[in-house]
């Protein structure tokens, strides 16, 4: 059946029978919501919080598009079909808003039992949507669907929305009391935004629908303005993204402003009529887009430079920290011991005692030399295209090199009563790697030494050398303290040491892994990576190319 309020719409959406303001209000809001949702999702595909925001934006966009279709179309079957989803979309927005706020506040996923409650709450809305309890017929004169006489379906999903609002308020209020000042600000922004959105979305639409039903309002056009809550919510989300970096995005205020302005200027095409206005708006849009792009590019460049400076300052401070702690301690010990020898304080002591002091000075000097070597090596390797000096590259038997280092560190492992093992696949016994031996030795020495150092007494350390196609694969497995999840990304950075490593062993420059990575990657196809579970241990993998046999 067709109703005859409007003419047949173009592309299911555009007809001259509805107010232009409807398009101006709905289409830009939909675009901004979609743009923000996609932007947030692309910047953190793995984050649940980002995924939930993306889904809410998609649902909101579906709601606006389906509402536009309901308003502008004249075919009863199509209108009823699209209208039948209104409850599902609204119900999903309600439960996902609770889920979204929970993840925002608690930084963790909902428990299975709460998820089950939410699914149970939404299931009647989904299951009853195609039935007459939702929509029973079509009014040709008003071009509207009509509903079961006492509206149980609509009342149910509206109540679901109101329950969501109360639930969110309780969650926010409870968290607010125990939050930091920064988090409190975020809670206020997020809370106000989402409550505005839900209240206009559920309460306003129900109230205007009620006014229409009792005849106070001639049609349900006021219901359209329920989407304005989303505009407020998106503005608050924008502030949270720019100011507090929620969603782990790097959206800058300039970028947000430029994109919003472009969408708003573009949306004017939906209601301007004259050609001259269309041309002028088109020109404004082009000029603004170009200028906006240039501004965003320049601001991004400035931010990048600032971040680089901040990074360099951080490295500098870490370097000073290393120098002040790692160098000063052995120097002080050497100075103290040498001074005692010089002043003759040990003249009356037995020879063994003096030898002990001399051995101490020697040991600390070795440590100092190690630190200086690390710093010099790091400086040498800290170039974009580091490569070995050609004259120093020779075929080296990797099995022998790894076995040699394993044996050198045996006493260290024995002191910790470790189950210390090496497995070398027989097929690689005669295979070589083209390398600078002194550099490569440093890699295996450093990682095996770390594996022993960070393994618990009585634990295990295993070195496993095998081949995969044209590469050696060396696994160095320890039963140590593991690497904290939030510090894994920084492990190969210069001067970086994981916090739990510093707690266990105060001594260390934080250069070993940085040097190892640079050396391994200087080999063609060379790669170093790791798997680690906190408290259980770490496995380092080193992949090196097998030299072609002549």
């Amino acid at each position: 059946m067709i109703c005859y309020l409007f003419s047949e719409p173009l592309y299911f959406l555009f007809t001259s029978g509805v107010p232009a303001l409807l398009y101006y209000a709905y289409i830009p809001t939909t675009f901004i919501a979609l743009f923000l949702g996609i932007y947030v999702y692309r910047n953190g595909k793995h984050l649940l919080f980002n995924k939930l925001f993306f889904v809410i934006c998609i649902l909101f966009s579906l709601w606006t598009i389906s509402t536009l279709i309901e308003w502008t179309n004249i075919h009863s079957g199509l209108i009823l079909f699209v209208w039948s989803f209104a409850g599902i979309i609204s119900g999903l927005i309600a439960i996902l808003s609770v889920y979204f706020i929970y993840v925002f506040l608690e930084k963790k996923n909902l428990t299975t039992s709460i998820k089950s409650i939410l699914i149970l709450a939404i299931s009647p809305v989904i299951l009853l949507s195609p039935t007459s309890l939702n929509l029973s017929g079509f009014d040709i004169n008003a071009c509207d669907a009509f509903k079961f006489w006492w509206l149980p379906y609509k009342i149910y999903y509206t109540l679901l929305g109101m329950m969501a609002m109360i639930w969110i308020f309780v969650l926010m209020a409870r968290k607010y009391r125990v939050s930091t000042v920064d988090m409190k600000k975020q809670i206020i922004l997020m809370g106000t935004g989402i409550e505005f959105f839900l209240s206009l979305f559920f309460i306003w639409t129900s109230y205007t629908y009620y006014l229409t039903q009792i005849g106070v309002d001639s049609d349900s056009r006021l219901e359209m303005y329920g989407l304005l809550g989303m505009v407020i919510f998106l503005i608050y989300i924008g502030i949270l993204m720019v100011r507090f970096k929620v969603f782990n995005t790097k959206l800058i205020a300039t970028q947000a402003l430029v994109w919003t302005s472009i969408i708003l200027i573009s949306s004017q095409f939906f209601f301007i009529q004259t050609n001259i206005n269309k041309v002028l708006t088109g020109l404004t849009l082009i000029v603004f887009s170009v200028v906006g792009w240039l501004i965003v590019r320049s601001v991004k460049k400035e931010i990048r430079q600032r971040q680089e400076i901040e990074h360099l300052l951080k490295i500098k401070s870490e370097f000073i920290d290393i120098v002040s702690h790692q160098l000063r301690t052995p120097v002080s010990v050497i100075k103290g011991m040498a001074s005692m020898l010089k002043e003759g304080d040990l003249d009356n002591q037995p020879k063994e005692k003096r030898d002990e002091f001399i051995a101490g000075i020697y040991e600390k000097s070795e440590k100092l030399a190690d630190i200086l070597n690390d710093i010099l090596k790091a400086a040498e390797l800290d170039m974009d295209n580091f490569s070995f000096t050609p004259a120093n590259i020779k075929p080296i038997n990797l099995s022998q090199l790894v076995k040699g280092i394993f044996d050198d560190l045996f006493s260290l492992a024995q002191a910790k009563k470790l189950n210390y093992q090496i497995n070398i696949s027989p097929e690689i016994a005669n295979l070589n790697v083209m390398t600078d031996e002194s550099f490569l030795k440093h890699v295996f020495q450093n990682i095996t030494d770390n594996a022993i150092k960070y393994s618990r007494d009585g634990g295990s350390t295993t070195v496993d050398l095998s081949k995969e196609k044209d590469f050696f694969i060396c696994k160095i497995i320890d039963s140590g303290i593991g690497i904290p999840e939030d510090q894994k990304d920084r492990l190969f950075e210069k001067f970086f040491r994981a916090k739990n490593a510093v707690d266990v062993h105060a001594y260390g420059t934080g250069l070993g892994l940085f040097i190892a990575k640079k050396i391994v990657e200087a080999h063609h196809g060379g790669k170093i990576w790791f798997d680690s579970t906190i408290g259980k241990g770490t496995t380092f993998y080193i992949k090196l190319p097998i030299a072609k046999q002549v």
């Binding site: 009863s76 199509l78 079909f81 699914i119 079509f138 009509f146």
Partner: protein
């Protein structure tokens, strides 16, 4: 193993998506294919014989029209009139084969001033006017 983890992580999402797909198919079948719903509209009403609903066509109510409230089952209406019922005489009556059909006239006790039935003198004038007019709507 990966499949198992995927199902564990996305169990609830999968239930939701699957149920929404199923009900979408049902809705599509009901509203688009089977057209299983009631259609409501303003039917023709003769004030000479029935109490009709009165609706003003302008603010000063100098022009108005009368109607009865019609409800018909969409497939019946489609078979009798096609997509557009504007000039379809069968849309204004209930036929014996109609599965669901109702005509509601105005009830002066409940609907009050919105009801109108012609007095005998008005009926006589209207009958004269009607015989010379082919208009579908009846105006006073």
């Amino acid at each position: 193993m990966k499949t198992k983890t995927f199902f564990k992580d996305y169990f609830f999402s999968l239930i939701l998506v699957a149920s929404i797909i199923v009900v979408s198919i049902f809705s599509f079948y009901r509203f688009i294919i089977k057209q299983d719903y009631i259609v409501s509209y303003e039917g023709k009403c003769e004030i000479t014989s029935n109490n009709c609903f009165l609706e003003c066509d302008n603010d000063s109510c100098t022009e108005n029209h009368y109607y009865s409230k019609m409800q018909k089952y969409a497939p019946d209406l489609y078979n009798e009139c096609g997509k557009d019922i504007t000039d379809c005489a069968n849309a204004n009556i209930c036929l014996p084969n109609d599965q669901k059909c109702s005509i509601t006239y105005c009830d002066p006790e409940n609907d009050g001033d919105t009801c109108k039935k012609a007095t005998p003198s008005e009926s006589a004038i209207l009958n004269d006017e009607q015989s010379s007019s082919t208009n579908n709507t009846i105006k006073l």
